[in-house]
């Protein structure tokens, strides 16, 4: 709770809203004991007295009643009515939403049809009809406003509940013997409650406005009582001649609603965990590159690589924490070569790949050091337009889950055509289409012609990934970076895709950087492999050599963990402990805490990647001496 309040008041606008609202609230609560005139005593002699005249701090209205007193009494009424309406709407709406979402099926169907019916009216019509039926009056206006807002809550809460009731913890609770009512109250409700609070805090201002509106129309509070809306309504006839009688209550409504909205937004932001981590920031077109990064010298030797990643450092800056996702990674690929990067989740392999063309989401990502040279040019220093011309043209990507990485609203044909035409607008649409068809055939998509018009959701996972591969080939790139392209696929489909990639690579002399967590895949596809652990490369070398005689203890033990088919039933090898979190990396070797060969010297200083032309390892006590 204190953490919540701290978070809330760090938001300056919300704090401002809270201050204004508390002042208004205090005034409203104290109204009966303040030395004010009776709000209903008329004094026709003082009609339309101007503000700051004797005895009328805020002037008098058309009947000579004291504006200040009426304003405070009106505020009191408006706040109370708005809050009660919000509570009623939230209570009934949420109850309907939870029941509908939890039970689903016919219950859901019937309740939601009823809600649809309420939503078939522009809200004021329903409110007017209800007021017409119940008669004018503040309580009836309150009921009308609450009623027309029930659908909003019902729909929102239903949506959340549907999501929750398919979550596994609800199934787990059922297996633990809980009945429906108990599950709703103890499993679902605690998770829905923040959403209800958010919905309420963001709509209470709106409901104050709506009740004021009904009163403004003369359908809410009736004379002599008045809320802010009816004050404005009564002042309406004179606002051209005596504007102060309408401006004062108008400004009060505005202040209340604005402060409630500010506070409501603050509450939402503080309760919504996605916003808490700053994840809702939009990623920039190019990852931020620190201005003071150290740029290593270019390798100008004759056998320079096609793509040379030098001492790359990529970090995530979240709040005041710094996650060192990639620490001084150096890798290179030559034309026609396939380099594998292998590591577990959080090892920094994907971030390395995305850093190459500045695709790491930024914020929070920042490239703080190193260089990425494509035939000598440092891409990290490149201007946006230059980088854009490299992306998809010279360096293309294949991503993991093709359902989320293809645009859901464009046909795959259009997406392929776009990939071709963004780099060469001279290509006509029909020529690009013909090329797209050819690409689809090259990746062996059956009935390619008719598949061009398909949307991604109409294809299976394997077919979608073929489209992803076709798209990467569109501009005959020099390098393809494949980021776990088969992880989301079934084994039989994975085998098809890997075979396809292998054929394409041999036919075209493509350079591939292949990121995976699977040794089997690396062994079958890659010429060389780099093993990453906690943001660093711990070992690199020809695939066969590394697999046959791993030099780093981590590589060796990781290989041992992978069960191989055909081994029968057995005890599996494990590595005790967990990888370190990259915002708090220990000095020395990152694997030291889990390594059974660890010595005191492993835990101090910086351990360099050492070795020869062919193989390197980052270990003081390697398993194998590198020849």
């Amino acid at each position: 709770m204190t953490a919540f309040l701290k978070l809330l008041f760090r938001n300056r606008l919300a704090a401002m809203g809270a201050v204004v609202l508390s002042i208004i609230l205090v005034l409203a609560i104290l109204t009966p004991v303040l030395p004010l005139q009776d709000p209903n005593i008329t004094n026709t002699g003082d009609r339309f007295a101007r503000p700051f005249t004797e005895g009328y701090l805020l002037g008098a209205d058309h009947l000579g009643r004291d504006q200040l007193s009426r304003l405070l009494h009106g505020t009191r009424t408006s706040l109370m009515v708005g809050a009660i309406a919000a509570f009623l709407a939230a209570f009934f709406g949420s109850a309907i939403g939870i029941i509908s979402g939890y039970f689903g099926k016919r219950t859901d169907n019937i309740l939601m049809r009823l809600i649809d019916m309420l939503m078939a009216f522009p809200y004021i019509l329903l409110a007017l009809a209800i007021v017409a039926a119940l008669g004018t009056g503040l309580i009836n206006a309150l009921i009308a406003v609450a009623a027309v807002n029930i659908p909003f809550f019902a729909r929102n809460i239903r949506g959340i509940t549907v999501g929750l009731s398919h979550r596994e913890f609800v199934d787990a609770a059922r297996l633990a013997g809980k009945g429906h009512i108990r599950i709703i109250l103890t499993e679902v409700l605690p998770n829905v409650l923040p959403v209800i609070v958010i919905a309420m805090s963001t709509t209470v201002g709106w409901m104050i406005l709506e009740t004021a509106g009904l009163s403004f129309l003369g359908l809410g509070s009736q004379p002599p009582d008045s809320d802010l809306g009816s004050m404005l309504g009564q002042a309406k006839d004179h606002f051209t001649t005596h504007p102060h009688t309408s401006i004062i209550p108008g400004i009060m409504i505005f202040l209340i609603v604005m402060s409630v909205n500010l506070l409501g937004d603050g509450v939402r932001d503080a309760l919504d965990p996605r916003l808490r981590s700053g994840a809702l920031s939009r990623p920039l077109p190019v990852t931020n590159v620190a201005k003071d990064r150290n740029v290593p010298a270019e390798d100008t030797s004759a056998n320079a690589a096609l793509l040379d990643i030098q001492e790359l450092e990529t970090q995530f800056h979240v709040g005041d924490r710094i996650y060192e996702a990639v620490g001084k990674v150096s890798l290179s690929v030559k034309p026609g070569e396939c380099l594998g990067i292998i590591g577990e989740s959080g090892s920094g392999k994907s971030v390395t790949a995305l850093s190459v063309t500045g695709l790491v989401a930024s914020p929070p990502g920042v490239i703080t050091g190193g260089a990425v040279r494509l035939e000598g040019d440092d891409l990290l220093a490149a201007k946006y337009e230059k980088l854009r011309s490299v992306r998809g043209n010279r360096i293309a990507y294949i991503f993991q889950d093709p359902l989320s990485t293809l645009h859901p609203l464009y046909t795959v044909g259009d997406q392929l055509v776009e990939a071709i035409r963004v780099h060469d607008s001279r290509v006509s649409k029909s020529a690009a289409r013909a090329r797209a068809l050819e690409l689809m055939k090259q990746v062996r998509i059956p009935n390619a012609e008719s598949r061009l018009g398909n949307y991604p959701h109409e294809m299976s996972g394997g077919m979608r990934q073929r489209v992803g591969i076709a798209m990467s080939l569109a501009n005959e790139p020099d390098i393809i970076i494949a980021d776990e392209p088969t992880t989301a696929l079934d084994v039989t489909v994975q085998a098809q895709i890997l075979a396809l990639l292998n054929d394409l690579r041999r036919e075209r002399g493509l350079a591939i950087i292949f990121i995976t967590h699977d040794f089997g895949v690396v062994a079958q596809l890659c010429d060389r492999v780099a093993v990453m652990y906690a943001g660093r490369i711990v070992e690199e070398g020809p695939t066969q050599a590394v697999l046959d005689a791993p030099a780093h203890p981590y590589t060796k033990r990781l290989i041992a963990c992978v069960p191989e088919l055909g081994g029968g039933r057995r005890e599996l090898a494990a590595i005790p402990g967990l990888p370190p979190v990259v915002n708090d990396l220990p000095p020395g070797c990152h694997f030291a805490a889990r390594c059974d060969k660890c010595q005191p010297e492993c835990k101090v200083g910086y351990i360099a990647l050492e070795g020869n032309e062919k193989r390197t390892v980052r270990c003081i006590h390697p398993e194998e001496a590198l020849a």
């Binding site: 309420l118 939503m119 078939a120 009216f121 522009p122 809200y123 004021i124 019509l125 007017l128 009809a129 209800i130 007021v131 017409a132 039926a133 008669g135 004018t136 004021a212 509106g213 403004f216 129309l217 003369g218 359908l219 404005l232 309406k236 606002f239 051209t240 504007p243 309408s246 401006i247 108008g250 505005f254 604005m258 909205n261 500010l262 994840a279 809702l280 920031s281 939009r282 990623p283 077109p285 995305l354 695709l359 989401a361 946006y384 854009r388 992306r391 998809g392 990507y397 991503f399 889950d401 989320s404 990485t405 645009h407 609203l409 464009y410 990939a419 963004v422 949307y455 959701h457 109409e458």
Partner: protein, 315 residues
Amino acid sequence: MGSYILKRLVAAIPVLIGVSVLVFFIMAMIPGDPALAILGAYATPENVAKLNADLGLDKPLVQRYFIWLGNMLTGDFGRSYSQNKPVIDEVMGRFGNTLILAGVAFVLCSILGILAGVVSAARQYGLADKAITFTVLIGISIPSFFLGMILIILFALKLRMFPVSGMYLIYGGGGLADLANHLVLPASALAVVATGVIARLSRSAMLEVLRQDYIRTARAKGVGERRVIMGHALKAAMVSIIPVLGIQAGFVVSGAVYIEMVFDWPGIGQMLVNAISQRDLLLVQGGVVVVAACYVLFNIVVDVAQALLDPRIKT
């Protein structure tokens, strides 16, 4: 697509029936005797009984509903006693005026709102974003009827740029230019709140979409940033913006009621409020049913637009 439209139309029938049932029974709940209200001072027990029989009010409720429904389907909404003409004539004339006002405001708020949201998201945390966010906040907090009054004081009374109220000049008025001149202030006042809501939602929808993997894919293909924002991202964001446009249309029509009162615009809102205070229930009933029916049809248009945009919706 044709079959989808047909399906939506068929699905609207039960909703329309539900709407009519709801309106009819809400109105039937009204305490007091309409005949008594109509006859006023002339109410004698005989007159009341006769009028009740004339109006069919002596029949059972359910039967009355079907009679009412049947009449309505043939365009007979009864006769307004306060206006002394058929309800349908009064409602249609008034509703047309409301549609002009609300339609202009709706187009205004949709375009401005989406535009502001997109700019705001594209320049997140920049100056434009902060300015838009702040303006939007004021826009959604100010009561539209109060805003209307301020606009009148500023632009009609002080600056004399636009007329204070009404739809046409009383003397020598008429024509499109005159109408447009009268529309500026009320349509602006009406559009402000909805613009704010749409801008906010468009901003968050755009921010949500911009974080998606397929935006990264577009960038990885080398698609330029303008096209990423205005093409890939906006198209995907429209999926969540369009339903809100549908809901906001309802809010614009609702807001029109206040604006009509402030600007003395001869629309259906003004008519309804007056009819309620005069207890002219047939007029209220007719007005509510017509507007609700139009809104249901409008939402079908919204659904169809959504289905055209999003192929994942089963058509």
